[in-house]
């Protein structure tokens, strides 16, 4: 009775949860954290580190430590987002043979889904350990604005990690599910999501199982970390004014400031003032210097005022795009840790004219919603039906490079639609069917999915031939496009399978690789356990020798100590065989000691 886990695969952090006994449980990672940093590190020894541990070695291994890979997934190398990211990250982003953005690590190119798969694999293992059962299925969330390619790339990442992705759902939809929406009520919900590094606002209309995305807006470079930075800057500036020492040059001091700033920010969510207490933060000729400053909530709010303000405009734009007034919104949901700050809650309340909901932990709410959808899949949840919808419109390029929609966004799939087209010039014998996806009215602003030609149209004046173009989407999101000349019956068709840029063969190969890397990890874990065992036997025996060894005759002491010395050499070995052999020696020493003590007794 396998579970379907819910995964919030975030830009900075991931969170996994699962439905257990009718309630959602957050799955902690191996280190005990409820969220896992979306960071992967490759060491020169061929190890793959994930999460907090990968983060810890980022400074020593910057070019092989990958973060925020979500910004690259399903994107072309020459897209604006990828080019912008290239300027800010220390790792190398390269163009793959099919134009996708890939990442070069230790002379090997990785597609973004492969990197995400490494994180997903770790999350899967944590869930398996938590549930004591194999996990093969998952629901993953993505931002509402992700197109088919980005969604498919996310799906592929799951596949590579050994997870069948039952559904890809929108993050705001998941948040709304966690709040219990989707139970036969018609409502409009605004989801305000201020995460670690990105800000998204989404307006949803929920009716009869369809969570329709009316509009989305946001800022991909605004997040909680900017808020921390404001406090750090303030502390540094205040300290410099008083002591003429610039703490920015001191890495340790900065690290301490960062932690203190984060703590102060969290505390100010519940109290009106907090004390930042950092003794011995620096020293000069006159003696040690300390920071002992009171930060009030109003000062903090003054520091971040403009950041908060900058989230207001996207909210208004989203309302405008959805053609709604603030009073049309039935509920506002807060997502992301930063929304705990009262200034955010207050601002959101002002914008939408109603109290925002934050009863559910905003760091976990998206993953919880995904787990609820997982429960729907297994039959544990019965009162919710979430229909699959097309995230973006599908259509054709027509005269003058205009885009004509055949299937509007948010249409529930599967479905089919046909539209009749005609020729532009006299005696035109062929038409090009260029299939695109997007919301822009200019075809070139949308994403091209493929094109084909219908040839052999009998010569006739323009506007006379009638060509029926049909779009049909099945439940798996596969689009069939056909064009038929009504007069001759000539037909031409094309199938578009959602693609992330990875071919099925490549995906299969990557799945294999991922599985072997899990084996390697297991081996590494085994090695550590063997080492620890050896270490503790040697230490315990030495301790016992120290206490009772004097009673033994010298020869015996020599033999035992000799064995222990030999064994101890391999405590740091990388060779399991050697460690095992050494462990035998150590055990032999322990046995001899015990035997000798027995004789003495």
């Amino acid at each position: 009775m396998s579970k379907v886990i819910g995964i919030d695969l975030g830009t900075t952090n991931c969170c996994v949860s699962v439905l257990e006994g009718g309630t959602v449980q957050i799955v902690p990672n191996k280190e005990g954290g409820r969220t896992t940093p979306s960071v992967v590190g490759f060491t020169d020894k061929g190890e793959r580190l994930v999460g907090q541990i990968a983060k810890r070695q980022a400074v020593t291994n910057p070019t092989n430590t990958l973060s925020a890979v979500k910004r690259l997934i399903g994107r072309k190398f020459d897209s604006a987002e990828v080019q912008k990211m290239r300027e800010t990250v220390p790792f190398e982003i390269v163009e793959s043979s099919n134009g996708d953005a890939h990442i070069r690590v230790l002379d090997r190119d990785y597609s973004p889904p492969e990197i995400s798969a490494i994180v997903l694999q770790r999350l899967k293992l944590a869930a398996e350990e938590f549930l004591g059962d194999q996990i093969t299925e998952a629901i993953i969330t993505v931002p509402a604005y992700f197109d088919d390619m980005q969604r498919q790339a996310t799906r592929d990442a799951g596949k590579i990690a050994g997870l069948e992705i039952e559904r890809i759902i929108n993050e705001p939809t998941a948040a709304a599910l966690a709040y219990g929406f989707g139970k036969n009520k018609n409502e409009k919900v605004a989801v305000y999501d201020l995460g670690g590094g990105t800000f998204d606002i989404t307006i949803l209309e929920i009716s009869d199982g369809v969570f329709e995305v009316l509009s989305t807006s946001g800022n991909t470079f605004l997040g909680g970390e900017d808020f921390d930075q404001r406090i750090i800057n303030w502390l540094v500036d205040t300290f410099r004014d008083g002591n003429h020492i610039n703490l920015r040059d001191d890495r340790l001091a900065l690290q301490r400031l960062k932690e203190a700033a984060e703590r102060a920010k969290c505390e100010l969510s519940s109290v009106m003032e907090t004390t930042v207490n950092l003794p011995f933060i620096a020293a000069d000729a006159t003696g040690p210097k300390h920071i002992n400053t009171v930060l009030t909530r109003s000062k903090f709010e003054e520091l971040v005022q403009d950041l908060v303000e900058s989230s207001v405009e996207p909210c208004q734009k989203a309302l405008w795009d959805a053609k709604l007034k603030p009073t049309d919104i039935d509920k506002v949901i807060l997502v992301g840790g930063q929304t705990r700050s009262p200034i955010i809650t207050r601002t959101v309340t002002e914008v939408f004219g109603k109290e925002a909901s934050s009863e559910i932990n905003p760091d976990e709410v998206v993953s919880m919603g995904a787990a609820i959808q997982g429960g729907v899949m297994t039959g544990d949840v019965k009162d919710i039906v979430l229909l699959d919808v097309l995230p973006l419109s599908l259509g054709l390029e027509t005269r003058g490079g205009l885009f004509v929609k055949l299937i509007g966004k948010n249409s529930t799939i599967p479905l089919k639609n046909t539209m009749t087209f005609t020729t532009v010039v006299d005696n035109q014998q062929s038409v090009e069917i260029h299939i695109l996806q997007g919301e822009r009215e200019i075809a070139s602003g949308n994403r091209s999915l493929g094109k084909f030609e219908l040839v052999g149209i009998p010569p006739s004046p323009r506007g006379v031939p009638q060509i029926d173009v049909s779009f049909e989407i099945d439940a798996n999101g596969i689009v069939n496009v056909s064009a038929k000349d009504k007069m001759t019956g000539l037909e031409q068709a094309m199938q578009i399978t959602p693609s992330s840029g990875l071919s099925p063969d490549e995906i299969d190969r990557l799945i294999m690789e991922a599985e072997t890397s899990v084996e390697k990890d297991k081996e590494a874990k085994g090695l550590i356990m063997h080492r620890n065992k050896l270490d503790s036997i040697v230490k315990n025996t030495r301790k016992a020798m120290g206490e009772f060894g004097k009673g033994l005759d010298l020869e015996q002491q020599k033999v035992i100590n000799g064995l222990l010395n030999e064994a101890e050499e391999f405590v740091t070995s990388d060779d399991q065989m050697q460690i095992e052999a050494a462990t035998k020696k150590a055990e032999e020493a322990a046995n001899q000691l015990t035997a000798a003590l027995m004789v003495m007794a």
Partner: protein, 271 residues
């Protein structure tokens, strides 16, 4: 009962009833007389009254006669219009159908409940196992939670001591005594931690291991192997294999012309 036969009887009665209305009284009497013949008991037949089952109030052989007026209500007879307890056959069929549906529904409900129950049982078993497993860790977790809160205090104590140590030259004897006293308090604190199983993570001179160390800076150094921890900026602690706080360290990299060098330290921090 054979419905065809029933039909025949009915026809006969129907004729009789028709006759009743249209013919003369003589005819009627004649008919009655003819019927009386049917009632005639032949001489070779004797009636035994001794039979206990015999009911003389409504003798069996009189039944057809007695029931004559009843079917006279002349209702068209359909197959299946048999009516025990006054309910028609088709009503019963409907009822069977309804009962079958109810049964199916009940069975489906039962299957669903069983599956829900199994699922819950499964969840509960997992939950129980996990709680069992976690119970062992609870003590350690609480201890490390306490330690996480206490460590900054110990760090600051260390910073104070290290500062005093570096600036003790030319200080008065009183100060040095006071300093030694505080050093003893600090030692006491560290011993207390060790007693609880909380031990410092060895860092300096070790190969950098992100499982235990957090790199905050790198420095180019020729005299140590690359990837060796060169200095500890903040001590790390662990309980057994569980890291409470990773040691914040500086790590050596092979010196290169373009090597990233660490920013100059302005603070003499506890090392």
């Amino acid at each position: 009962m054979d419905s065809n036969q029933d039909q025949e009887n009915q026809d006969i009665f129907a004729v009789e009833i028709e006759d009743e209305g249209s013919d003369s009284i003589e005819d009627f009497i004649r008919q009655l007389e003819a019927r009386e013949k049917d009632l005639h008991i032949p001489s070779d037949l004797s009636i035994e009254v001794g039979d206990a089952d015999f009911d003389d109030t409504n003798p069996e052989f009189l039944k057809p006669e007695l029931s004559v007026p009843q079917p006279a209500v002349a209702e068209p007879i359909r197959a299946g219009n048999f009516t025990p307890n006054g309910r028609s056959f088709s009503d019963l069929e409907d009822e069977v159908e309804a009962l079958n549906q109810k049964l199916d529904q009940a069975e489906a409900e039962r299957a669903e409940l069983t599956s829900t129950m199994r699922r819950r049982q499964f969840d509960f078993d997992n939950f129980r196992k996990r709680i069992e497993r976690e119970r062992g860790e609870t003590f350690l977790n609480q201890l490390s939670n306490l330690a996480i809160k206490m460590l900054p205090v110990i760090d600051n104590m260390d910073r104070a001591l290290s500062f005093a140590e570096n600036h003790s030259e030319g200080r008065s004897g009183d100060f040095l005594e006071f300093f030694r006293g505080i050093a003893l308090v600090s030692q006491q604190l560290n011993e207390l931690l060790a007693e609880m199983g909380i031990v410092p993570i060895v860092a300096v001179g070790q190969p950098f291991d992100p499982h235990f160390h957090e790199a905050v800076a790198v420095e180019a150094k020729a005299d140590v192997a690359p990837n060796t921890v060169t200095s500890e900026l903040l001590r790390g602690y662990r309980i057994g294999d569980k890291v409470i706080r990773a040691a914040m360290v500086r790590v050596a990299v092979a010196p290169q012309p373009q090597a990233v060098s660490d920013a100059p330290e302005t603070a003499p921090t506890g090392e």
